[in-house]
Symmetry: C2
Subunit: 233 residues, 2 copies
């Protein structure tokens, strides 16, 4: 009779657990990734995702939230677990298993200041440098997840200010999918979803005519989700 290795707690100092965050933003019509220069040896000074070791008394999700808040000042943003990376030699410094989270952020002036403080930096998707360890792989997976997610969940909004125009939203999706999207079909679908609240204001920053501003109806979305609603762009 074969025995499974006993599920015992008699293990000590096994390995370290870290969280790393793939943080996406959207500026100047482009999707961006937030990276910074690693502070600890080995590989100090090289580009890296933002993360740290998980403390014993904090939940992993909590750790991810804190990392994100520390660097961006942002609190209530889209943040979800992506995947855990745990090969033995992924980190030459120690045996570290990393649980990766991905986040979508809206850029605000305040946030930019915080980011600059940390010497972090936004880079365009097609200019992502080599990152330490397996971080490039993490980013690749996160980008795939972003595209997959965008297909059936309304996440374009997460990358825009709370008030946005339809042309802006369209551009976000075009940036995500890297292709032109028919604007008439796009409007139809978006408006048909019933998840947009049209405001009585126009944004005239990009045209003389001005485009109507909308808000995303989060309450209604939650309600629809419970009813098994399926969104598709």
């Amino acid at each position: 009779m074969v025995k499974v290795p006993p599920n015992t707690y008699a293990h000590e100092n096994q390995l370290l657990l870290a969280v790393d965050c793939v943080i996406f933003g959207y500026q100047d019509g482009e999707l961006k990734l937030l990276i910074f220069k690693r502070e600890v040896e080995p590989l100090a000074g090289q580009w890296s995702l933002i993360g740290r070791i998980v403390e014993k008394n904090e939940a992993i999700e909590e750790a991810a939230h804190k990392v994100l808040k520390d660097i961006t000042g942002l609190d209530k943003v889209f943040l979800e677990q992506l995947y855990s990376f745990g090969s033995v030699s992924r980190d030459p410094g120690a045996r570290v298993v990393s649980i990766v989270y991905w986040s979508l952020t809206q850029s605000t002036a305040n946030q930019e200041i915080k980011i600059a403080d940390h010497e972090a930096q936004w880079v365009s998707f097609n200019e992502i440098p080599q990152l330490v360890l397996d971080h490039n792989q993490m980013v690749k997976m996160a980008i795939e997840k972003l595209r997959e997610y965008a297909r059936y969940r309304p996440i374009g909004f997460e990358l825009l200010p709370s008030q946005f125009t339809l042309p802006q939203l369209l551009k976000v999706y075009e940036a995500i999918y890297q292709r032109k999207i028919d604007d008439r079909n796009f409007r139809k679908k978006m408006l048909a979803s019933g998840l947009l609240i049209k405001l009585d204001k126009k944004d005239k920053s990009t045209s003389k005519k001005g485009a109507f501003l909308y808000k995303f109806d989060r309450k209604k979305y939650k309600l629809l989700l419970q009813q098994g609603y399926w969104f598709e762009v």
Copy 2:
């Protein structure tokens, strides 16, 4: 200037890392979950998923594979990472973060012997008992994942012997979705995918006429995947 907590390796004996496996099977026209009685305190003797602490010198995926092989004897089966659970007090015995994997297995006689050895047990989806810790939540998430996956990947095969009939495959999908599926449309789609290899043999165990046996064309599937192929049931 705010400082991110330093990403240093100077932490010790932080927490333990475990893998747990949600193992699905298919028998008697029903989807089943493999559970066993927990061996260690606290909560010894209660129903639990199968898992153990990850050793320092093994990759997390490797650990999951070993757990699965130890209990079922199965080696090359569908096994993917599901999610990591890491709230502080999820385990009253210690601070344990659990990385959960899910697996689809084909039942074989040999496997059943191994499973019996371990006093593990298959239970139907609608008879899943209360499990220890957050294991019921893990199972719930795995079932959702299974349904999501089945929509766009040919995974029905993973639950059947390597040779199977179309009526059998249909029943697997009906079990996954818990609803009747039109057999004509199902056949059309399956055969149109080009991923089934028709054999010259019939299985007469369930009817006098007998149903043709098929094999799943894994090579072709891999090829199609690379070309951005998208399967849908």
